[in-house]
């Protein structure tokens, strides 16, 4: 059986007196898209930061693509990528310059070809030679996604990738991500507040509440298990501590 793309075992993080993440354990299967759900402060961003090794956990262990992220993260970092609204790109560089720098950091061969392909797929051509700072929030999100796809990652961690997009662009992006995962066999962990998005493209969903996993299953299975109208209803019930198992 193939090693999971992500295996989080008892990940916890304490900042002084504040317990940010109590204990998070879950797995993401290779080739699957997994939604990471939770209200504000549930621990999604902290969990992603621990998975990537940007943040050292107080307890537990994260294994990505078979590598322990505390001891061996540099072995797998070229095969991962990430995008988040909590980080940015150099504002004064153009989109093309930013992508060129990151393509070189990731050791991408044929950088111009790869950037041209992404510009075409994510419709960046109209502003690729403009400074990053002059872009709208939605355009910046697309550029951040292009950066995250430069190295054709086997594992992509996306924190709220469609948060600042209009419905049309967000829809195109979801289709693109689903097609990318299908075409490349990549795994995606997608932190999102958009339940329709998760229902539509995720094979699996992990729901966090107060720094703990309270449920993990396919979206349809979660709806069946908790007897909600849709995933949003299930999420609201769980977030408010009002969930009860159906039947």
């Amino acid at each position: 059986m193939a090693e999971a793309a992500i295996r989080a075992s008892g990940l916890g993080k304490r900042f002084g007196e504040t317990l940010a993440v109590r204990s998070v354990s879950f797995e993401v299967a290779r080739g699957s898209i997994c939604g990471l759900l939770g209200g504000n402060g549930a621990g999604k961003t902290t969990t992603i930061a621990m998975l990537l090794g940007l943040l050292i956990p107080t307890t537990g262990k994260a294994v990505l693509l078979g590598a322990d992220m505390q001891r061996d993260r540099y072995r797998v970092l070229p095969r991962l990528n990430f995008s988040s609204p909590y980080v940015d790109l150099p504002q004064r560089l153009t989109v093309r310059e930013n992508l060129t720098v990151y393509a070189q950091l990731y050791g991408v061969r044929a950088r111009r070809v790869r950037i041209a392909a992404l510009a075409d797929e994510l419709a960046l051509e109209a502003f690729i030679d403009r400074p990053y700072r002059s872009l709208s929030a939605g355009q910046k999100t697309r550029v951040a996604l292009a950066k995250a796809l430069l190295n054709e990652p086997e594992l992509l961690l996306l924190d709220e990738p469609t948060a600042s997009m209009d419905p049309d662009t967000a829809d195109r992006l979801r289709r693109y991500l689903a097609a990318y995962a299908h075409r490349s066999g990549a795994s995606i962990l997608l932190a999102s507040h958009n339940m329709q998005e998760v229902e539509r493209i995720c094979d699996d969903a992990v729901i966090l509440r107060q720094g703990e996993v309270v449920a993990q299953a396919a979206p349809a299975e979660l709806i069946r298990r908790y007897g909600g109208r849709d995933l949003e209803q299930v999420f609201l019930d769980i977030a408010r501590g009002q969930e009860r198992l159906a039947g």
């Binding site: 993080k13 970092l77 070229p78 980080v87 153009t94 070189q104 050791g107």
Partner: protein, 265 residues
């Protein structure tokens, strides 16, 4: 190793793009070194008629200001390369890429090298037509003086970059000003013997004091300052190891405290 060089090159490319897109930034590299050189050039001209000491070695103040600017620009080069990433909230992106912390250090040092060479180089070239003084007159030892000052600037730059990483942009003003705290002890414009006896050993714990003493030995005594150059080099090994070690240690703290995702304005 090739991958490491590629990543270090990527950081330098990022800085080149930044400079290329902004001529005021390019101008700024040479502006202050040139202004300082002009001020000290006129002081030298005035003092040469008043002081036998200055008259003995024309250009001593110009050489001193150019060499002091080397250490200042070198420190600033590392500090500014790092602060650009903090302003851009780019540290989180950089450190989920395969970039190692030591490669970041090497990239900042590379950026600093070219910034310093350009800034001080322009001022040094202008000193020739303006005051008839060429710092190349110091001969081959100039390479050792320049190299020692560069390395010390890098070490200090890494220490202030570490402080910025640990305490955020609140520590920015310290980054700009910190190197000046060492100026009185460095003996830039006067011999270390001018300092009180008890302060002289403290001054000689700095590579800069040896470099400026060495510079005067060349200019006034026409002697190769082997002892001072070796002492500066030995001290620099320690200071650079300290700067890099503190930066890597603070990087570890930043990963423990989640600072890599919290940096920015």
């Amino acid at each position: 190793m090739n991958d490491s060089l590629l990543r270090i090159g990527a950081l330098m490319l990022r800085y080149y793009y930044l400079i290329r897109g902004s001529w005021p930034r390019l101008l700024e590299q040479a502006y202050w070194p040139t202004v300082q050189m002009i001020i000290w050039g006129f002081i030298t001209k005035f003092m040469a008629g008043q002081s036998g000491w200055v008259a003995q070695a024309a250009g001593v103040f110009i050489a001193a200001v150019l060499l002091w600017d080397t250490v200042f620009r070198s420190q600033l080069g590392v500090f500014l390369a790092f602060i650009e990433e903090v302003y851009a909230r780019n540290l989180g992106q950089l450190f989920v890429s395969p970039l190692r912390p030591w490669e970041m250090i090497a990239g900042m040092i590379g950026i600093s090298f070219f910034r310093t060479l350009f800034g001080v180089g322009v001022a040094a070239l202008l000193a020739v037509p303006l005051f008839g003084y060429s710092i190349l007159g110091l001969g081959l030892p100039l390479v050792a003086l320049f190299g020692n000052l560069l390395v010390f600037g890098w070490a200090m730059g890494l220490l202030v970059a570490a402080m910025l990483l640990r305490y955020g942009l609140g520590a920015e003003s310290i980054g700009w000003a910190s190197i000046f705290a060492l100026a009185p002890l460095s003996g830039i414009y006067y011999p270390i013997a001018t300092l009180p006896d008890w302060l002289q050993p403290v001054a000689f714990a700095l590579p800069t004091a040896h470099v400026f003493e060495g510079m005067r030995q060349i200019m006034f005594e026409q002697q190769l300052p082997v002892g001072h150059l070796l002492a500066a080099a030995a001290l620099n090994v320690g200071y650079l190891a300290l700067g890099a070690g503190v930066f890597l240690w603070v990087f570890r703290i930043a990963r423990e405290r989640g600072l890599l995702l919290q940096q920015g304005e």
